[in-house]
């Protein structure tokens, strides 16, 4: 593994136990001028989305020295088959995954952080839960295999063998794993941590609610103290109206289907 990949995995380690707040738009990469404005205003890392397979958008984001690129199914995919070869970039990438095979394929392509795909913009956490549970249960299964069974497992997962071996030996992904999609309350965030997430992404769940600042602060604390139910009860009080939820099975474009 290259030095740069290692450094990029390291940055994801620094983000653990935290909340990544998504202020970006949908369909295409945001205006670089807006991204630069955010970079100049805050000392925390700034992440921006590019379309799946859109090498040029990724190069533009690298040129303005973004800290992390989210090659995201939330934007309309530029390539309906291939993802970006992320090993060719110095800047780190996070990618969505619904199961272990998808996560390991993205890591094989150079992603240095993984998140669940969830179903963004719905306030419905069911997909994030499904993906996180599936990934964790597949990890446990790989750990339980005999070494000579890993070849067949890699074939079934359609994932690189060396990464399947890593999971077998370490019982976890080789990169940090966050929850994303539909997290709208402190309890949602605590649920995802309980299921094995190392941090959460939030977007519309905060920004489409009644009091975004208060809700954001409560979710940040919930991620740190997800095991303390009394504190979670307090954090959940008087947050104002939550975003209006849409059942994920009622929407027409299923974004999680984008990019496998």
């Amino acid at each position: 593994m290259s030095d740069r990949q290692e450094l990029n995995r390291n940055l994801a380690q620094m983000l653990k136990g935290g909340v990544i707040m998504d202020v970006g738009g949908v369909s295409r990469m945001s205006d670089p001028a807006m991204i630069k404005g955010i970079q100049n205003a805050v000392s925390i890392p700034v992440m921006a989305k590019c379309r799946i397979g859109h090498i040029a958008e990724a190069r533009i984001l690298e040129a303005i020295e973004i800290d992390y690129i989210d090659e995201s199914e939330v934007l309309s995919p530029a390539d309906d088959v291939r993802h970006i070869d992320k090993t060719k970039f110095n800047v780190p990438f996070v990618c969505g995954a619904r199961d272990l095979g998808e996560a390991l394929r993205r890591i094989g392509e150079g992603a240095t952080m993984i998140r669940t795909k969830g179903e963004p913009g719905t306030g419905d956490v069911v997909q994030a839960v499904r993906h996180m549970r599936k990934m964790q249960s597949e990890i446990r299964k790989i750990v339980s295999l005999r070494e000579d069974e890993l070849y067949e497992a890699a074939k079934e997962l359609a994932a690189p063998l060396d990464l399947v071996k890593y999971v077998h030996e370490n019982g976890k992904l080789p990169v940090v794993n966050f929850a994303a999609g539909g997290v709208a309350t402190p309890a949602d965030a605590a649920l995802m941590m309980e299921l094995g997430a190392e941090g959460v992404f939030v977007g519309s769940g905060i920004f489409k609610s009644g009091d975004p600042a208060k809700r954001a602060a409560a979710i940040v604390q919930a991620v740190t103290n997800w095991q303390d139910s009394k504190l979670l009860a307090k954090l959940s009080e008087n947050l104002g109206p939550a975003m209006v939820g849409i059942n994920a099975d009622e929407i027409e474009t299923i974004m999680e289907e984008r990019g496998k």
């Binding site: 290692e6 990029n8 940055l11 380690q13 620094m14 935290g18 000392s43 020295e65 604390q221």
Partner: protein, 184 residues
Amino acid sequence: MQVGVLAVQGAFAEMEAYWREEGADVFEIRQLADLGRPMDLLALPGGESTVQGKLLNDLGLFDPIKKLILGGLPVFATCAGLILLAEKIDDPGRRDATRPEKWFGVLPVAVKRNAYGRQLGSFTTRGDFDGKHDFPMTFIRAPAITDVLSDEVKVLSTFGGKPTSVRWRNITAFTWHPELNATA
């Protein structure tokens, strides 16, 4: 030895692994009740100093921990931990740089956050550290120590002529991440 690792945000798991490797018993500090346990050393891990500072305040941990540090409890701090300890944040223009309630402000050094640039400026190098040679050092969106504000501060390592780790009284602090290379 009982090591308390601040676990509000960041690479606390790596810091815990580092101290377990050193043979210590490790516990996490996530809320006030955790400070009731006997502690021989406080470890402040890497992460986002702005976020950690805010959580320390929101969770009521800030004043009690500051009191422990001023009381002489040994402290081991990396990256964001160093920023939380620094007396001066040399970061003009950032709106949170001059808010003393966010920083412990006990270690007589000035630090500049993200001094080597954004993530593309992150790097590894090897160098002398506290009498040891060829020591691996990983800098992730690292701060720099731009000034040493007391003669009592001992410089343990440097990069490009600037200190990258220091010892002062009960505090040892790094701009880089010894805990990341320990398990690598």
